[in-house]
Symmetry: C2
């Protein structure tokens, strides 16, 4: 079920088997450097989100540039990172199942591990598992700062949960998880600024109330690629959980202003059929490139558009430009990087037209 | 990168780790039996499409009930099936890359393997690879019978390709691939009937012209779960390539009349957050259940709807019914079965509330 790598180091890009997940290493490293430079001297550190890259290799490169650790959404992702040497991992999500919590507790023998909660019974379950495992587990309270998904309301509800954590001998109150997911994709900077200002108000109020109860907040985590500069402006967040900045995608590129980060992630695909003028068919459909946030873009081929995805086929419409030839390889910019990465077992790292490295997507399919 | 199985035989369904790909074995076996019964006595055989199930175990069960073999879309799928003992495999798709074709030729040592073509240069590439490998390869000509994707026009264009195949000492002309994909999902039976009547006209004309040239058509392949009875009415197709009938999904269930096949495939998910009235959050977002053909349905929970999918979260809206509790497990009916299966490493087979078996999704991620 693990797929064979589609390339070998030294190959030319045109020789890579398709579909393949391509990482332009120059652009990728520039993105990592740029984020490190932007956070330097601010009060905030990067805790990069591994839900995007699912790779211990990439996590290590982010940490060598100053990231304090990694976020994940799933216990299986935490395992893949810890087994790959990542020493500090936050599950930026609720884990309520005792079996999953036991796996997380076991992991805390080789890495610092924290988890989020938004429910009193959920906290009690974590405490019981921690006690049985003979560990103290760090727990953050998730507050809903506008996304309307997980998290309790800022203020008294959050304070009550924090006190419940602090009162448990097996738990440590780690701080607040305050992520405004839907703000990442609002199309204008002022819309995003207003959303994050609203989030900041809830964070500020909750921190004040926690302080009054004698509960300090070591971590205030949140922010993503689309808004992190706005969280920095607020001066509240201590950890920035951006992930997509390393890769970028068509959805982030549509956010309005010229993006500071470069497109580094591509799906390499091949023309497998071209029976009529004005069209061609690629070997990459939506099993190969996620379409939940829109269709992929064709990279640097004017007049050639990706206009339809079925399971294994990508339909190209050709207007004005030269029709791609049978067997020709085209780069696609995924509409959404995270779920696209999750469809592959291997990154193919390329530089100046040559394959330089293969990295495993070590948490591929890690949903549990 | 291979995920651990989420269950063990003998477990109760409520103990299965989530998200998990659940197969209701009673419904699944009833579907396989029903398709076998419907094809018995017709001139057509089932060549079930393994793009749906990606499993040699399921392929074997279909063949024990009379299927002549399996279809796949990708060489990696053909490999997984051949390695799992499937003796007769058709790649119902173009393969134009010489490296992929060499893998296919190598496979023909352990299974009967055929492939499709819709281009003269593509046929010459297959012939060259077959010659170098010392094999004769069977090639079908794909004709476009209305889907507007791959395939040449019915009639002279198809005949010219068939003659090119027949003229090569290293190739065998296997027949016609005539699949009308988009017809599967037209919502009314009469719309589907009209589409398949149009497809049949193209097939009939092409077969007549081939016969005039002395080229018999051993295989006329096509049809899917949404239309196969209409292809049977036409009396032309010799092989029915249905796949989804084994599982079904919300998209097929929306086709208009009560579906003959039962829902056997589910994603089992868990409530991980329920911070406010009227809502809850599941641990299955679109990394866990495909949403390209619509959101999943919640199984047998009146008043509870799945109303939003992000990467790792599924938003439930609760109106009227009882709000699902934290930690509770819910079955989801995927919007689209094929890409949902491709996200998992394991089927969890259940019967009467107990886990009976674990089967690997052996071609999971097999895109090449």
């Amino acid at each position: 079920m693990l797929q064979a790598p589609p390339a070998e180091p030294g190959m030319r890009e045109e020789e890579v088997d398709t579909p393949a997940l391509l990482l332009d290493l120059d652009a990728f490293e520039a993105n990592l450097d740029l984020m490190a430079a932007r956070l330097a001297g601010t009060g905030a550190k990067l805790r990069a989100h591994a839900k995007t890259h699912k790779s211990a290799v990439i996590a290590q490169q982010q940490m060598r540039r100053g990231a304090v650790g990694q976020c994940v959404q799933k216990v299986a992702e935490a395992e893949a990172l810890a087994w790959g040497g990542v020493p500090d991992i936050l599950v930026s999500n609720q884990v309520v199942d005792p079996r999953k919590l036991r796996r997380l507790a076991a992991l805390s023998g080789i890495a610092k591990v924290a988890v989020c909660a938004d429910d009193a019974a959920g906290i009690d379950t974590i405490a019981a598992v921690a006690e049985a495992a003979g560990r103290r587990m760090e727990v953050l309270v998730e507050i809903d700062v506008g996304a309307g998904r997980c998290g309790v309301s800022p203020g008294p509800e959050a304070v009550a949960l924090a006190e419940r954590i602090a009162a448990s001998p097996n738990l440590i109150f780690g701080g607040l998880q305050a992520y405004h997911g839907s703000a990442q994709h609002k199309r204008g900077i002022e819309e995003r600024r207003a959303a994050i200002a609203g989030a900041a108000e809830g964070v500020r109020r909750t921190v004040e109330q926690l302080t009054q109860r004698g509960l300090p907040c070591p971590i205030i985590g949140g922010a993503g690629t689309g808004t992190y500069e706005l969280e920095l402006e607020q001066g509240l967040w201590t950890e920035i959980q951006a992930g997509s900045y390393a890769f970028m995608d068509a959805d982030y590129a549509a956010n309005g202003e010229p993006p500071a980060f470069r497109q580094s992630l591509f799906v390499l695909s091949q023309v497998m059929s071209a029976p009529r003028d004005g069209m061609a068919v690629l070997d990459a459909g939506h099993k190969a490139v996620a379409i939940d946030s829109g269709l992929p873009l064709v990279w640097e081929r004017p007049g050639v558009r990706y206009t339809g995805a079925s399971d294994e086929h990508g339909a190209l419409t050709v207007e004005g430009g030269a029709r791609p030839k049978l067997g020709e390889r085209l780069r696609l910019v995924p509409g959404h990087c995270d779920p696209t990465v999750d469809r592959y077992d291997w990154y193919v790292g390329v530089r100046k037209g040559r394959v330089e490295c293969l990295w495993p997507v070590s948490a591929r399919g890690g949903m549990a």
